[in-house]
């Protein structure tokens, strides 16, 4: 199967007040579809930058990034946004739910962006809320939910459209182990249903134990540059 993500000689350099910082120095990486891939690295290693590139919210300084068969360097900003809306789900470190929308509306949001008809949106949103165990909290705003509940909403939001790729930065960080396990099960289910590739940055050993592929990054370069081996 062709890799769902392919990075070739990717470099990313930032300019911070006339000083150039090289975040990634030549990455070659392939990620196979339908896998749990984990990204491990200390802060400042370029882990977040790599995630950003894979998530199509940033473009490389050099090299090519190909996601789901699409060369993302050639796309315009609007086309990139469109691509993200269709194909990528994000689970962020600081939840970043839209505070003025209810749990239901937050989860529904990505479906609006792809123009899904109303009835189908309703079904999927309710199903996903049910799946994360927040059916009763549907109408509540994020500020009325606990940290763990917010995290679950974020996860539901990322998964609701069954995207090709889900990128997550410490998705299980604020969850107790029971919930965490339930979430992992949910992700596996979604993967089975929608052929979703999960790419995590995490320190959670329990999550890591599910990894099909582990990629280590240090100082902007991959340590074990072996392409994802079949599990």
């Amino acid at each position: 199967m062709p890799p769902v993500v392919r990075l070739t000689h990717v470099e990313k350099t930032y300019k911070a007040e006339a000083i150039e910082v090289a975040a990634l120095r030549g990455i070659d990486l392939e990620i196979s579809p339908n896998r749990f891939s984990m990204l491990i690295g200390a802060s400042g290693s370029g882990k977040t930058t790599l995630l950003n590139l894979i998530g199509c919210i940033d473009t490389p300084t050099r090299g090519t990034v190909e996601v789901a068969g699409q060369q993302i360097g050639t796309l315009s900003d609007d086309a990139l946004a469109e691509f993200r809306a269709r194909n990528i789900g994000f689970i962020f470190q600081n939840f970043s739910l839209v505070p003025v929308l209810s749990a239901y509306e937050n989860v529904e949001y990505p479906l609006l962006l792809v123009g899904m008809p109303a009835a189908e949106r309703r079904d999927r949103t309710l199903a996903m809320l049910e799946a994360v165990g927040l059916a009763k909290q549907a109408k509540q705003r994020p500020n009325e939910l606990s940290g763990g509940q917010r995290q679950r909403v974020a996860i539901a939001r990322a998964l609701v459209k069954g995207p090709q790729i889900v990128l997550a930065d410490e998705p299980t960080a604020n969850l107790d182990s029971a919930t965490g396990a339930a979430i992992i099960d949910l992700m596996r289910r979604v993967q089975a249903e929608s052929n979703t590739t999960f790419i995590f940055a995490t320190h959670d050993p329990h999550l890591m134990s599910h990894a099909d592929q582990i990629v280590t990054i240090r100082d902007g370069m991959l340590i074990d540059p072996t392409p994802g081996a079949a599990a």
Binding site: I57, D58, D78, E82, A85, I88, S96, V100, L101, Y109
Partner: protein
């Protein structure tokens, strides 16, 4: 679209105090514009009503009279004016538009009070009118201002030599006591009569010629009006002064005489053919003025008459000047309010964008385009503007209602008497729409800068923002 508005609305409620302050700035701006605009509207309407009541909509003159006739009214008489008036009245196009069509005669001369040992004289500016027509003109009230005056019993068609004068002229001609008016006493008269012996012969001869016009039974004072006729001969008529009214403008007040048309014609034309200097038309509706003017021009051409038409704004430049002044002030107020609203909304929206930076990053990552972000913030600015403007409109209407029913009054410049003070807001939908739209537009424009900045944020940087 509805999502954008829903989200915009909820975002407004996110920081109630800030949104309230901003909305209040917009509301205050709209209120100020509407209240002043409503006042200006009232001024314009009252002024137009007064002008049309006094000088009609259009006046027909001999060509050149308006620019050159002031010193020589007699030379600009309109020939055959009676048939012209009838032609205008019966014209198929003009007739239905017209409320009153009436001839007038302007004149100037010397007015003198030489009765009872008095010795006062003054140049005067006179107008000869048909009293019943004038009374009808005073009833005109197309805009329902209520500023109509009842027919004047002192000046009617019945009395052919009764007239009215300005209060200043009455004062100068020493008519105050006979008319039972409240005037300050004249200063110590510089002795016109020099001290000295009386020449018996002269006094005797003068005495034999005295005893001119008999005093009327009604006790009203009489004055002599001297003028040169169109033929250049001296002429004099007697006017019974039935009353004196303040004219509002001192120059007019000291010179004004109003008399029956026949008397004015007798004085100005004497033995020659009696003409008039102007034919006044008062229409039913002001908006018919251009059509009436065009039809009159046609009529003149058909008759081969050398006539011109002037409207009331040309005859009362004051009208145009007042309109111009109020319009300029309204513009100034709009600009100032617009500035205030602009700054308030820019400030608020900039703060909103800054506080929601990471949120912007999130939804951009989720696939919202730059345009979507921009529209979201524009919608928020527009919504604050719309809500504030609507609140301001309601408030202005309430204040206007209070003022209109509060029984306030004032004396407009150029007027002699106080009139009720009103503010025309609720019945001026055009004004409301204009003020509302302008300030909402300003809000939208104000939101553009922060919205653009939000749209241009890099996703990565925004996400990194706390």
């Amino acid at each position: 679209m509805s999502t954008i508005l829903k989200v915009a609305f909820r975002n407004i409620l996110r920081n109630r105090r800030r949104s309230f302050m901003t909305g209040s700035a917009v509301a205050a701006g709209v209120t100020a514009m509407l209240l002043f605009g409503g006042f200006a509207n009232y001024i314009f309407t009252s002024l137009e009503t007064r002008s049309v009541q006094q000088t009609g909509h259009l006046t027909v003159f001999r060509s050149g009279y308006f620019l050159f006739g002031a010193g020589n009214a007699a030379a600009y008489g309109i020939d055959g004016y009676r048939s012209l008036v009838e032609a205008i009245r019966l014209d198929r196009e003009l007739g239905p538009m017209i409320n009153v069509v009436t001839p007038t005669q302007s004149l100037l001369g010397i007015a003198g009070n030489f009765a009872d040992g008095n010795d006062a004289s003054k140049t005067f500016l006179g107008i000869g009118v048909i009293a019943s027509d004038r009374d009808r003109m005073r009833q005109w009230d197309e805009f329902k201002t209520g500023l109509i005056t009842p027919p004047d019993p002192r000046f009617s068609d019945k009395e052919e030599s009764h007239g009215l004068v300005g209060l200043g002229l009455a004062r100068i001609l020493l008519l105050c006591r006979p008319l039972a008016l409240n005037c300050p006493a004249p200063p110590e008269q510089v002795a016109r009569k020099s001290a000295g012996p009386v020449n018996a012969d002269i006094a005797d001869l003068a005495g034999r010629e005295a005893g001119g016009v008999a005093a009327k039974a009604d006790g009203l004072p009489q004055i002599d009006l001297l003028a040169a006729t169109a033929g250049g001969a001296p002429n004099v008529v007697n006017l019974t002064v039935a009353g004196a009214d303040p004219q509002g403008v001192k120059e007019l007040d000291d010179n004004y005489v109003e008399m029956p048309l026949g008397l004015a014609q007798q004085l100005v034309y004497g033995r020659a053919e009696h003409k008039v200097t102007g034919i006044v038309l008062q229409l039913n509706r002001s908006e018919d003025m251009p059509a009436a003017r065009a039809r009159l021009a046609q009529l003149f051409k058909e008759r081969g008459a050398d006539l011109e038409v002037r409207d009331f704004s040309e005859l009362n430049p004051f009208y145009g000047q007042v309109r111009g002044m109020f319009s300029a002030i309204f513009l100034f107020i709009s600009l100032v309010m617009g500035m205030i609203v602009l700054f308030a909304v820019v400030n608020t929206m900039t703060m909103n964008v800054m506080e929601r930076t990471s949120e912007i990053g999130t939804i951009r990552a989720m696939g919202v385009k730059r345009g979507g972000i921009r529209w979201q913030f524009i919608a928020e600015g527009a919504l604050i503007g719309a809500i504030g403007a609507s609140a301001g409109t309601v408030f202005a209407i309430l204040v206007a209602a209070l003022v209109n029913h509060g029984g306030l009054s004032w004396v407009p410049p150029g007027n002699a008497n106080p009139v009720p003070l009103s503010v025309y807001v609720a019945n001026r939908p055009g004004l409301i729409l204009r003020a509302w739209t302008i300030l909402v537009a300003v809000s939208v424009v104000a939101a553009l800068l922060p919205a653009n900045r939000a749209a241009r944020l890099s996703v990565v940087d925004a996400l990194r923002h706390v």
